[in-house]
Amino acid sequence: MADKKHSDHHQEQHWVWKYVFSVDHKVIGLQYLITSFLFLLFGFGLLMLLRWQLAYPGQPVPLFGRFLPEALAPGGVLMPHFYNALGAMHGTIMVFLGMVPLGVGGYGNYILPLQIGAPDMAFPRLNMMSYWVYVVGGILMLSSFFIPGGAAQSGWTSYPPLADISPGQTMWLVAMIFVITSSLLGSINFIVTTLNMRAQGMTLSKMPIFVWGQLVTAVLLLLAFPPLEAAAVLQVMDRVFGTSFYLPTGLVIFGQTLDVSGGGHPLLWQHLFWFLAHPEVYVLILPAIGIVAEIIANNTRKPLFGYKEIVASMLFLGVMSFLVWAHHMYLAGMSSKLSNFFLVTTLIISVPSVAILTCLILSLRGASIRYSVPMLFALAFLPLFGIGGLTGLPLGLTTTDIYLHDTYYVIGHFHYVVVTGSLIALMGGVYYWFPKWFGRRMDDFWGKVHFWGTVITMNGIFFPMFIQGLAGVQRRLYDPTAQAHNLPTQPLNVVSSVFAWLLFLAQIPFIWNFFYSMFKGKKSEENPWKATTLEWACPSPPPHGNFETPPKVYRGPYEYSVPGAKTDWTPQHVET
């Protein structure tokens, strides 16, 4: 069969072409996965430094303080501009180099073609290129720490005019353009693969929710990233060629009038940035919802409740995510009448998220729940993502946002959505698909240790932030004790910081478990979770070309406990 000859040809390739510059979506998926986890770890390291300064302002950092360069942290005490750089790079690395490549690049690349029964991505070479463009972007982003002027220091949102005049932003912009190009090429690949290369019989209504999530995510990436790329080009022109797209006339910086032509508008950047950044946050959560849906369906041994509602909500979420961006700008000087428009669209977009969460919780009714490690993560996702969603309500409402905007309440809100929402689901995905990737099982005991350690410490970090936010503590403060109204809640900073360091300790069993089980984990059979979706219909780890014979699909993705069936799971590709 052509497929047989085709996979032999693969064997005698030099290992560089097989593992480093591979065009196989599975190898690229694992490359994305491990690279993005390393970036997440690095970004988290920056945060742990930053939290020291928040908990004990002005005191030298123990242990690692000695290694920090004198210009940035004399005697181990962090300088304000280094603190700002740590904050900006923490945000950028976690969002653009960590979460999105993990959710879309890692899981999407590996699992999507398998779940739709395709031999590989539509454009394998383009797929490899988008990974390596992402790696180059990541290296450029990290190198910005070592160039004169240091890393970007004006927040991951890089608002001008501060971003136009403060050092370190140019390398950030160049790296961002690389990362954006990589995501753009990746999204084209995903859409074409999902639409064109589905197995025979796999109509759109038989696609798993994970595939739907990746499809909507790819459309968001495709259409939302170019405006940020254009805005980044404009900011590069401002910084390098002295134009003033974002610099109004008559700026006086430390007493010196800025000799630029002026005429620019700072709000222009905010509009273009948030035009991307709101779809971006849905790009962060949709893959996670897909993973949670897969794990819940599998471990409740019954079809998901309201498959059509979830798919409809995802599509509606995708469309609406383009119309809500300026709820980040209620107080930014935008016209207050226009805020009412964005207030209403923000209300409308909260409905599909509530609908998805309702359907996922109701999927537990009438189930026979198996408390396996991935299921623990998926179950923890539901209430914690709920908290994240609920705390978005006072921020989305114009009047209460007056008080809560740019305070720690905002930081608590988006960390509850991204960290205890998206990241927990992605960790659950590692435990769930590990047997598929390496043919071995991760250790259950250490999985549970990692789960409880992570969930407890994450709540310990982020819940105090709501209390600080209500007390009016502003975000991005180098020294929280410098202002009277922040002093009473300063002990909460210590609490959050301690839990942040404990969260790092809680990750050690996970890292150990991941790399140890890769080689010495318990051997697992092809379909350890007894799942029905197509990725379990091929050997684990699947050979090049995935399926011996292209599978045919006969039924929906979650046909569990079909009355009268021999086993409580009937895979999509089995005829009967």
Binding site: L251, V252, K302
Partner: protein, 253 residues
């Protein structure tokens, strides 16, 4: 002069619309707790009731799709009421409409990298012309000496004195980067955008010293950029205003 007592939770409500904003915050948090507790209880019940037990299979058929949308509609209805009965009216009262200039104290607040410059019109009631080229350590706003109405203008740094009983109408702008004028006790926050003069108003209801903070990252001094608002009784404010020296010749020759 009551000192503002900051603690956990919302600071004292010291402006007319502070109560309105607090009402919204408390209402939403009450609703959030209610929603979270109800769903939480139902969630735990499901986890216990439908845990895997030998011999008990999961149910394949699912019914009650419409019933499942009831909680969504309740949340939607609550949000619609919240928006049309509370958010839009209060937002237009606070941010869209501004009180007339004649019965309120008009003052220009200019943010700069790491200080708040407060510009009073002085006895002639007119603000002097400012020129960015004239900005200097002793003339922080760059007041133009040969503009007659600038001679009596008063400029204070990080100290804003306002009278009780009258709304204060501020023209907020910035000299260099985006800052954000934030007084927790008055529940007001508004970004100061360079190149834009944004009208902001509030009316104090208590005398006392209240802290001004900067809520938008504005560089390495963002955390140290603080000031104080002193709310005086009307008489006391007049006395303070009288013995202020004009900015352009502080020695009063």
């Amino acid at each position: 002069m009551t000192e503002s007592n900051y603690g956990w939770g919302l600071p004292t409500a010291a402006s007319t619309f502070a109560k309105e904003i607090d009402f919204g915050i408390y209402l939403i948090h009450a609703a959030m707790f209610a929603i979270f507790i109800l769903w939480g209880i139902f969630f735990v019940y499901l986890l216990i009731r439908y845990r895997a037990r030998p011999g008990v299979a999961a149910k394949h058929e699912e019914h009650g799709i419409l019933a499942s949308l009831i909680p969504d509609f309740i949340v939607l209805a609550f949000e619609l009421c919240l928006i049309f009965l509370y958010a839009i009216p209060s937002w237009s009262r606070i941010k869209v409409e501004t009180p007339g200039a004649q019965d309120s104290l008009t003052v220009e607040v200019t943010a700069e990298q790491f200080a708040w410059d407060i510009h009073y019109p002085g006895p002639d009631g007119k603000f002097g012309r400012r020129d960015p080229a004239l900005v200097h350590a002793s003339n922080v706003l760059g007041l133009d000496p040969n503009d007659p109405s600038a001679l009596d203008d008063i400029v204070t740094v990080n100290e804003m004195h306002i009278p009780l009983g009258r709304p204060t109408l501020m023209g907020l702008t910035s000299k260099d980067v985006i800052h954000s004028f934030f007084v927790p006790d008055f529940r007001i926050k508004q970004d100061a955008v360079p190149g834009m003069r944004i009208p902001v108003w509030f009316e104090p209801t208590k005398t006392g010293k209240f802290e001004i903070g900067c809520a938008q990252l504005c560089g390495f001094g963002h955390a140290l950029m603080r000031g104080d608002v002193f709310v005086h009784a009307p008489k006391e404010f007049e006395n303070w205003l009288v013995d202020q020296k004009p900015a352009l010749n502080p020695t009063g020759k």
